[in-house]
């Protein structure tokens, strides 16, 4: 027992237990009960006008999984998540690598990079609307004088909408990844870098042999966190494109929102919510398991880099050689 002074032990345990049971009761009321209610809704067909409820069993689940609209939305969610995760890893790591070095103004930059993360997704959308606006947006304004695009170039179109939203999302979430990576970088002992330098290992080789292997757990954390956040993301999509143009960026959460508030299909929406939750849990678990198993990914990458012919290759093997 990690309790206080001996004679007080029993009253302490009771004190703690009372609080925890209270919290859990509250949790059941505000969370578990609504979830059960959602399951009930998903098994019923509710007619808003006639005010009737009819038990339809798993019909709604079947309808969603056989609807091309829903399947397309699920795929869009997966693509959006994949792009967001990959870019967040690269940009988050890039930011962290820069901030891990010593340069004047580092504390200031470290605070500044967190700004996008502190902004709401609605404000993130605002910032990117002014970059991507076809008439007076910054991208058009910058590239038109160079003759690269014509006036009124629609940056957000059928083909690109999902990717632009993903980029805006990465702008918002990458600072979180950078924070994790920065923490990870600071756990790497300096002596390893010194040893690599003494062996005259080039910068790239140092990165793949020393830095990346140490960052492996951090990569797992960032992948899982960003996957979770991207897969459930709603605010940014709604504020930036509302799922459009057409259905080009209509991800699964957006579709659930439309089921609920445009078509008043509560049963369908509740069933879709359960499917979303299930997919989200599966993806997160798979990411976690796969990444934790593949400890050799970093080693493979390092080997690949070593295979690239270099002029000075002969004398620059890293410390692993006896």
């Amino acid at each position: 027992m990690k309790c206080l002074a001996q004679p007080l032990e029993r009253s302490d345990a009771r004190f703690a237990f009372t609080i925890v049971v209270g919290l859990l009761l509250l949790n059941v009321i505000i969370f578990i009960l609504p979830l059960i209610y959602a399951a009930w809704i998903s098994f019923h067909d509710r007619d808003v006008i006639l005010r009737t409820q009819e038990f339809v069993g798993l019909d709604h689940y079947r309808r969603i999984l056989s609807s091309p609209e829903a399947i397309a939305a699920i795929f869009r969610s997966i693509i959006f998540t994949a792009v967001a995760v990959i870019l967040s890893l690269l940009i988050g790591l890039g930011i962290a690598l820069v901030l891990n070095e010593d340069f004047p103004g580092r504390p200031l930059l470290r605070a500044v990079i967190l700004l996008p993360w502190a902004f709401s997704e609605v404000v993130t959308a605002t910032a990117w609307i002014f970059i991507l606006n076809p008439t007076f947006g910054a991208l058009t304004g910058l590239l038109r004088p160079l003759g690269l695009v014509e006036a009124n170039h629609a940056w957000i179109n059928e083909n690109t909408a999902l990717y632009w939203v993903a980029i805006a999302f990465v702008w918002h979430i990458a600072p979180l990844g950078a924070l994790f990576f920065l923490a990870g970088l600071q756990t790497i002992p300096d002596s390893l870098y010194q040893a690599a330098r003494i062996d005259r290992a080039p910068a790239l080789s140092r990165f793949f042999h020393v830095t990346l292997p140490y960052l492996h757990p951090t990569v797992v954390i960032v992948v899982v966190v960003v996957t979770m956040e991207a897969f459930r993301s709603f605010d940014l999509l709604f504020a930036l494109t509302r799922g459009g143009p057409g259905a080009a960026s209509q991800t699964f959460p957006m579709l659930i929102f439309r089921y609920t508030f445009e078509f008043s299909q509560y049963g369908l929406a509740a069933a879709a919510s359960y499917i979303l939750a299930a997919i989200s849990m599966i993806i997160t678990t798979v990411c976690y398991v796969v990444l934790m198993r593949r400890r050799h990914i970093a080693r493979i990458a390092a080997a690949a880099i070593d295979a690239i012919p270099r002029p000075r290759a002969a004398g620059t093997r890293v410390a692993t050689q006896p």
Binding site: V112, I129, N133, I221, R232, L240, R242
Partner: protein
């Protein structure tokens, strides 16, 4: 260790890239917020600054008149500031208080099934919020709580309390036991010990929890939109969207653009100010995702 000139050059390129990536979108937004609307529409965003002023901000704050088209939306934004301040303030105060008690219980004591109970509490975080949207919406409309502060505050608390309980649990567990023990032996009651001895020691963690709760409630769109959108209690995020050119309902395309930029910039001020106040506390905390850090432990 000393860097070679080449390495130093690469570092500064990196610094420049990171700064640009972070600041350019913000700068663009601030830039537009300072522009008069007709200049933006006639000459685009990249132009020599002429007629830049705080007119948009003055209009939003009710100091100056604005164009008739967006009068209603500007009022809604002003109202949204007030409503969001009430909701986020209440969520921060109640949520932190609940999490202090919960985090203390979890962080200080062992009891049967502790880990299972903790996981049950944190499972809230794993689900996408939209998964509980429908039951919440139906239940709250049955209780006539749609379009009220109470409905929204309760909803946000369900998301915030488990997260903060986790943050504070770690913090309480890291505090020294001896001082509390001394207070208890001197006859200080359990709750009095918590209030007079433990909480002052945990002030940094509590400050951070307060900021996290405030930010979460202030920034959120989905539930604010569904539970208060279009009502007198509409929060800031849905109110901002009224200016957005992507909202088909306004039909006024780009006419609200400069006000949109100004109101968005303005909306970031209160949370940033709060975060600045609590900054030195937050830096010491691990605000990682709670579920995850448990899984990875």
């Amino acid at each position: 260790m000393k860097k070679t000139p080449g390495e130093r050059a690469i570092l500064w390129v990196g610094v420049a890239l990171v700064t640009a990536w972070t600041l350019v979108p913000i700068a663009v937004m601030v830039w537009v917020s300072l522009m008069p609307l007709d200049a933006l529409i006639d000459y685009g965003l990249l132009q020599w600054p002429s007629g830049m002023s705080l007119a948009n901000y003055r209009a939003l704050l009710g100091i100056a008149n604005i164009n008739a088209v967006f009068g209603g939306e500007a009022v809604a934004v002003a109202l949204g500031f007030f409503n969001s301040a009430v909701v986020a303030g209440a969520v921060a105060v109640i949520g932190t208080a609940a999490a202090v008690i919960g985090g203390y219980a979890f962080g200080r004591f062992d009891f049967p099934l502790k880990n299972a109970l903790l996981f049950a509490l944190l499972s809230v975080r794993v689900l996408p919020p939209i998964a509980v949207l429908i039951p919440y919406f139906v239940i709250l409309s049955t209780l006539h709580l749609v379009g009220t502060y109470v409905g929204l505050i309760v909803t946000y608390l369900t998301a915030v309390v488990p997260l903060l309980t986790w943050v504070l649990m770690d913090y309480f567990a890291s505090l020294p036991l001896e001082i509390e023990r001394a207070a208890r032996i001197d006859g200080c009651g359990r709750l009095r010990t918590l209030w007079h001895v433990t909480m002052p020691m945990a002030a940094p963690g509590i400050a951070a929890a307060f900021v996290i709760a405030f930010l979460t409630a202030w920034n959120e769109l989905l539930f604010g939109l569904v539970l208060t959108g279009g009502t007198a209690k509409q929060t800031l995020s849905p109110a901002l969207l009224a200016f957005s050119p992507t909202m088909p309902s306004t039909g006024t395309a780009n006419l609200g653009m400069t006000l949109f930029a100004a109101s968005s910039v303005l909306s970031t001020v209160p949370p940033l100010f709060l975060a600045l106040l609590a900054q030195r506390y937050i830096r010491r905390l691990n605000v990682a995702d709670p579920v995850l850090s448990q899984v990875l432990r």
